[in-house]
Amino acid sequence: MTALIGAAAGTGPPTGAEPPPPGPRRRRWIPYLLLLPGGVWLLLFFVVPLVQLAGTSLYDRAGSLELGYSQTFAFGNFVDAITAYWPQLLRSAVYAGIATVICLVLGYPLAYAIAQKSGRWRNLLLVCVIAPFFTTFLVRTLAWKAILSDNGSVAGFFRSLPFVPDDFRLLATPVAVVCGLVYNFLPFMVLPLYASLERLDGRLLEASRDLYATPSATFRKVTLPLSMPGVVAGTLLTFIPAAGDFINAELLGTPNEYMIGNVIDSAFLVRLDYPQAAALSFLLMATILVMVFTYVRRAGTDEVV
């Protein structure tokens, strides 16, 4: 046996028998190195604070910043928060949902036109979509306050219509808040839609027309399904920040239009009720996660998340 092995070993070339390790294997650590900076960042500034926030949400609410909090695993904080603020939580979902649908209705044709029909104007139009970002969020929302104000021309136009009461107003109504949300988050809808529509192969549209599909059938059976990744991404990028937004409700609404973001804002900064603020933050997160998962399931593109 030993002789056989020895003979076998002896017949092989002395060094060439072992193939050199392939390049990719030696560089296996590179992906981890690439992950490292982002991973460390997320660990320090996302995971750690999140755990801390989870802890805070279970503190005894009797404590205060001056006296200190004691960890009592007070799950009742969540019950209290829901009982007290379910209308704001529901309103956040409804406002953000309406704003997302309006963004989709406005954004899809816009993204389609830029991606498929704009020719040499494409880049200019894309800049126009992003241009509002050159001004701060706050100023843009304040501008809407002026646009929708009672003395403004928009409200004036509506009042001039027949059957519209003289005390008609836009500012400080749900309409104003939704308008603000739509305006502020529209680019987040348009850009992913544009990205997926821009990749749409025109030859597939020709094939569809050739195969007896009317323009509307081509849209339903080819264009829309192929742009679903863009629709899903745009919807999520619009809905998630809109649901947590508080600036629009603060500036364009009244406490009657306050969303959950406003409540969290005041719990943290005005009432200094940290446990409740933390509990509300988690509730918001849970609501969004549930809605997103339901939506992605329905949209049939689990790969996206």
Binding site: D201, R203, L204, E206, A207, S208, R209, D210, L211, Y212, A213, T214, A217, K221, V222, P225, L226
Partner: protein
């Protein structure tokens, strides 16, 4: 009722560029018709106009008695097999094939899908996605997706262009079989002369937006009408010649001081300036010591290049007046190919000649009609 496809005075301009120039052609029902030409000759534009994907600048397109010129593509009883296949990536193979049927409200599609997959020999592929298929398989599915609609005309836009040579040959045979089986008119666009000749009943050679010659492959190859056709479909040796007289059924020609004969029946022009043409494979080589048959047309020359290609040997020889002439010699006999530098006599049987018009103003240069106008031949 006949449903021939008739194009009448069809013109298409893109800005200042005329892609298709006053083209009139009839594609008989049930035929396998090839539009052959180099890229940019207008053949694909012609096909797209028949499909309705391109508007006509002027002219009309009829299918049987129906004028389909202004009809939307989705209202035309024609379907296309696209060069890129254009299968819908989000649908499985079954849904791809059923796409056209469903748009027309056909309900029970499963049976038809099965039949089509049998026809293209991909039975059982219903549930796969296009990306899981090889190029050749995608090509077959594209064919099935078009054929399942039983169009009156099937348009094929360079459908085999993306396949490798072996698969292409296989698909050519397959396409011909399927066409015979279904009996639908096939209008096939290609730049590949072999493909056109192998498959089509009728070939139309296009150049600069016009049809230069139309006919069965044998006729176009054996009796080309213009220098362009003679060198686009295969190769030809063309000699600038003048008609010197008639002798019985033959034309007597002079070219570069030598005398040649050609049957008058194989002449497109019977007086004045002409091109005398002969295909390289019709020409034999004789060594100076050997006797070439006395009644053959003869050209002396020196071999400049010998290219052994397995089934044949391709020779280039230089004539005394400096023109290059190519000769293909079948490797049927034993023996070594001749070496460059050998003095030879090239000769051919006069009925293998053809005579083309050489209008005044056309020089003696044939380089403008050089073979391989595409620059793609290996």
């Amino acid at each position: 009722m006949s449903t021939d496809l008739v194009l009448e005075n069809v013109t298409k301009r893109f800005g200042a560029m005329t892609a298709v120039d006053d083209l009139s052609v009839t594609v008989p029902q049930g035929s396998f018709f090839a539009l052959l030409g180099a890229s940019g000759c207008g053949k694909t534009t012609t096909l797209r106009m028949v499909a309705g994907l391109e508007d006509l600048t002027s002219g009309s397109i009829r299918l049987g008695d129906e004028d389909i010129t202004g009809l939307r593509p989705y209202r035309r009883p024609v379907n296309t097999v696209f060069q890129s296949y254009a299968l819908f990536p989000h649908l499985d193979i079954g849904d791809n094939i059923a796409f056209g049927l469903r748009r027309r409200g056909v309900r029970d599609v499963a049976k038809k899908i099965g039949e089509m997959l049998d026809l293209v020999q991909l039975a059982g592929f219903e549930k796969r996605k296009p990306v899981q298929l090889s190029g050749g398989q995608q090509q077959r599915i594209a064919l099935a997706r078009a054929l399942v609609n039983e169009p009156q005309v099937l348009l094929l836009d360079e459908p085999l262009g993306a396949l490798d040579l072996k698969l292409r040959r296989q698909m050519q045979i397959e396409l011909k079989r399927i066409q015979t089986e279904v009996g639908i008119t096939f209008l096939h666009v290609t730049h590949d002369q072999d493909e056109a000749m192998w498959m089509a009943d009728t070939v139309a050679v296009m150049n600069n937006g016009r049809i230069e010659q139309l006919g069965p492959p044998t006729e176009i190859y054996e009796f080309p009408r213009s220098p362009f056709v003679s060198n686009f479909l295969g190769q030809s040796n063309l000699f600038a010649a003048e008609v010197a007289g008639h002798s019985g059924d033959d034309l007597e020609l002079t070219a570069h001081g030598a005398r040649f004969a050609a049957p008058a029946a194989r002449a497109h022009s019977t007086d004045g300036r002409v091109w005398l043409g002969v295909r390289p494979e019709k020409v034999r080589l004789a060594l100076p010591g050997e006797d070439a048959p006395a009644n053959h047309n003869q050209v002396r020359g020196v071999l400049t290049d010998t290219c052994y290609a397995g089934v044949s040997t391709e020779y280039l020889l230089k004539t005394p007046w400096g023109q290059e002439m190519s000769v293909f010699s079948a490797n049927a006999a034993a023996g070594e190919p001749l070496s460059p530098g050998t003095e030879v006599v090239a000769h051919w049987y006069p009925p293998h000649s053809f005579v083309l018009d050489r209008p005044a103003g056309t020089g003696d240069e044939v380089s403008q009609y050089a073979a391989d106008p595409l620059g793609v031949a290996p």
